[in-house]
Subunit: 359 residues, 2 copies
Amino acid sequence: MDRVYNFSAGPSMLPMEVLEQAAKEMTNYNGSGMSVMEMSHRSPVYDAIIKETEADFRKLMNIPDNYKVLFLQGGASTQFAAVPLNLMKTGKADYVVSGQFSGKAYKEAKKYGDAKCIATSEDKTFSYIPEITPDMVREDADYVHVCYNNTIFGTKYPEVPNVGDKVLVADMSSCITSEPVDVTKFGVIYAGAQKNMAPAGLTVVIIREDLLGTAREDIPTMLDYKTMADNDSMYNTPPCYAIYVAGLVYKWALKNGGLVAMKERNEKKAALLYDFLDQSSLFKPTAEKKYRSLMNVCFVTGDAELDKKFCKEAAEAGFVNLKGHRSVGGMRASIYNAMPTEGVAALVEFMKKFEENNK
Amino acid sequence: MDRVYNFSAGPSMLPMEVLEQAAKEMTNYNGSGMSVMEMSHRSPVYDAIIKETEADFRKLMNIPDNYKVLFLQGGASTQFAAVPLNLMKTGKADYVVSGQFSGKAYKEAKKYGDAKCIATSEDKTFSYIPEITPDMVREDADYVHVCYNNTIFGTKYPEVPNVGDKVLVADMSSCITSEPVDVTKFGVIYAGAQKNMAPAGLTVVIIREDLLGTAREDIPTMLDYKTMADNDSMYNTPPCYAIYVAGLVYKWALKNGGLVAMKERNEKKAALLYDFLDQSSLFKPTAEKKYRSLMNVCFVTGDAELDKKFCKEAAEAGFVNLKGHRSVGGMRASIYNAMPTEGVAALVEFMKKFEENNK
């Protein structure tokens, strides 16, 4: 088998031309005589890479000048602690629990202060996004935390939630760069890079500058946003190679029309699958229509044995990693930016045939 | 210029055959139809990679069964906080400050309890390692922390320090896998991987099992050794690709005779440089003879302008990243496992010529 269609929820597909360029430059980057993996992070050649990566990311996401971009380690799971450790000044923060990861973020925040769950969709297995209105937010909460796209349950916020004048913090791990987003509506956006941007091991944080410098005194230095901002993400050695690959991915996205084009393509890809699911007699989508994710399409047959059979036969046909998250079962097709339309179309054809054969 | 001799202190040279294999497998690992960068960390194909990497690392380092190996993120700098957050039970810990990084570790530990500096070599610009005896350690200290090889000052412990029955914690970022080490003499060994093992973004922790489970309640979950041990380093997505490259490097080291052979070769390489420096009329080594590092060879001419000229001309001749750390100046040749003997020999020849031309 040469290349498969990889529907993994993350780490996930990267654009083929990015992989090919990385392979080509592996032993000698741009005449430097070394791999990007071997470069001193303080060398001029690497400095140019990280600066260009940040510039391209800013262009792609249309990030205003009063926001810092940080390239960190530790995944979104580390941000679950970093957010309250940095931003809880009054000791209060409000959380929306719309899936497993937002639940983990909420639980972690409770270690550091009075974190309150102001809304949840747990009552219907997180198949929808609860509505948020400004009056639900506590007057003295330092911020409101949401998970913008729920990887496991295949839901996303249909629009930026209205939290009034409160600081909105969003985990965008599984939807960042999938469509344009108005950064100015957020205080902090963070994302593990391994779904839509780079290999695992890089975490990107976008933070409004006035939110820097309020961390607790006993915060681990490496989690302090101000330390990282003051040192341009180089307080210590950053995850250099993952940042380089992210840079290649940003260039690929820009070259292919930026986030407006990504959104258009992602909507087309998602529609192929959802339209089929909506009329299928075998497969059922699990997320409520209004809240459907463009990135993670979850569905079931209603029969665990049949789900298993489907995943097995799909893998044999070159459609891999379609098994749903171990906590929910069923199927999930993650169709991030790098998944070509042909991959989704081919999957739908395969599903049609499977439905035909399993009537 | 094809390949240079890269004397960077880290990230640093990787074995050429490792880079070539990584490049070859970039778009299709072992018939899987995908890059290692694209693999779900919970897939059988990636599971085999991480398990084999751990097994090879255990073999290479001769790690006993009662020690866990953790593949983490955040660098040694994150461990500066993780160590006290996990291991300070009485609230007391003793630190030896033998350079910049051990100083940072000590400073970070003071955030979390009564950290005491029991010995330092600051009086002579960290050009030696202070002697440690068991009576210097506080009776109720939970552990003693050392930095085993000081990257910036080019010194290393000539033998494992004697801390009596206390738990010894060592930062081995810049010497791990450079020579055999008796793991049983340590409670915790940790190391950023970007010097001798892998690209930046991976941190390896070796911890004796009885030290797990004593973390403070408010520790960030991602820093809790027990959480990581219980989840086989997969509480969240690990830095998959860096782990894969580390695995290739471990296989390379095993194939080339393991750590006994690495030590022999490293001693030979270091001797080439130190022997030349000891008789040179222009260059002077800065570390005391007894404490010289095998990995980082620091030297000066005594004239900052001449140092600069040397670094410039060396770079033009293909010997790059010889500038000393910005905090100390002078020169530093980092000669990790992947630096071939020919590279060091060629550097010595170049230094001889430079000396001749600058009498």
